[in-house]
Amino acid sequence: MENLSVSQLAAGLDHGEFSSVELTQHFLDRMQAHRELNAFITEMDESAIVQARRADQLIKEKKHGPLTGIPLAHKDIFCMDGTRTSCGSRMLDQFVAPYDATVVQKLGQAGCVVLGKTNMDEFAMGSSNENSYFGPVKNPWDPGHVPGGSSGGSAAAVAARLVPLATGTDTGGSIRQPAALCGITGLKPTYGRVSRYGMIAYASSLDQAGPLAKSAQDCAYLLQAMAGFDSRDSTSMDEPVPAYTQALDQPLQGRVIGIPDEYFGTGLKPEVQYIMAQAIDWAEGQGCIIKPIRLPNTELAIPAYYVIATAECSSNLSRFDGIRFGHRCKAPKDMHDLYRRSRSEGFGTEVKRRIMIGTYALSAGYYDAYYLKAQQIRRLISTDFSKAFETVDFILGPTAPEPAFRIGEKTDDPVTMYLSDIYTISVNLAGLPAISVPCGMHEGLPVGMQLIGNYLTEDRLLNFAHQYQLATDWHRQCPPGCTQEGGSE
């Protein structure tokens, strides 16, 4: 059951082969059996069964949609009314959200059954899930390795077949990089495509929510229900949402794929390079035109990102003051002591480090040298992409420079950790959509390719990924010890 696609699950529910309650129980049991992965911060057994019963009723009455009764998990960054929403932080360990995020509301209306809230790097700051107050998530392919981050819990849960679908957020690669490291499919939509309302803010000009699933087709179902205009998010795009699931079957003949030199330079592991070459060959075999391109400012994306993101985070996280919600220190002497100790106790090391950098970059005398300069670099990066998209339909490259690294391997040096996002970060700076698709294995660990598209071309990205997945089996690979069945899809 855990290997079935969303459309197969929906058909099974529709034909009465199993009920949503049975389906939900099956996945809840799997979650319990794989607790060692630490993929969940909150398990929601009781409410899930209630939602599943409701879904079964709707299915019986033929009032259901494509996602009615399908289980999913939310990254613990999305507020859920009446449910603890921790954002992976001690600061919000006891925080019970008083309202639903738009994404939560929309998927609830679509009839999805929420099984739990997934583990993540604290406030979405990290590339390895080692920054969670609730402990690191383990990569289901090898528990000694990281699942990537920050949506590492969501990616690990989908990869281990603990849940068919999961939501994530992506500020600098936080959907795509864990998807690649866990061997699943993950899409970061165009900035503004999915509402940010109720999604706890890290860097507001970069944050975007998106789907994680086993396949592009499943991602299409999930994105369909997540995307759309929301008046409660001032940066939400008021553009029609295409029928993503209808666009999957178009032929790829004649599509022009740009291969950026900068994504294949030093730093890229040879094994990943080799796997990428095979994916490019496949595209060429489909009649795609392969074209070398340049994205000359790629290397500057990481420093620019770490100035912009930290500046925005230092501002966004100033709301955590120990007064209205969140952690409060014991016996504060005065207001200043209350702020300082509540925040120091509530935030973890990496979050504090980023708040410090951002505060410095925005402080008097340094604004022009750091923040303004980073915004100018951001313009250059965005212009690189718009020039490239004058002649190509897609840009293809690796999602990450290497397969999953070991837990603890990069924790001593923040800069080394930051470099693991080199191929994903520019996409957020420009606000473009991109998808990560499993395309190979190296020594038992998955490798992902990233396909970047122009604004609002999620349908084309999903189309390409789906065609690739019709021809390959990488997305059907399941981590050892995580399935009883063979690949039945």
């Binding site: 900035y191 420093p303 007064i323 925040r343 950098i357 100018q376 473009l432």
Partner: protein, 95 residues
């Protein structure tokens, strides 16, 4: 690029974070390293480049000036660390 202990303490004050001396030394080292690395942005001449604050070049949307949110003070205060009679309690501010 090197950040002094004094600067670290000033930043931690601005950010309302408590930093003891040992942590301050660690931050000074970390921040110096990160900022030195960030300096590579200076390789590029950006004098003529318009800063990009946001990925979408759109004008901020306006809405009608009417009440859309309802009063949920009670609900919101149930998650506050300390409240009394509808007020948020904090240590004494004025002597």
């Amino acid at each position: 690029m090197s950040i002094s202990l004094e600067e670290v303490l000033n930043i931690s004050h601005l950010a309302r974070l408590h930093v003891d001396e040992e942590q301050a030394r660690q931050y000074a080292a970390d921040l110096s390293k990160i900022l030195a690395w960030v300096q590579q942005m200076n390789q590029v001449d950006t004098r003529e480049v318009v800063p990009m604050a946001h990925p979408l070049d759109v004008v901020q949307r306006l809405r009608e000036d009417k009440v859309t949110e309802t009063d949920q003070r009670k609900k919101f205060q149930t998650i506050a660390p300390r409240t009394d009679k509808g007020l948020y309690l904090v240590p004494k501010v004025i002597e």
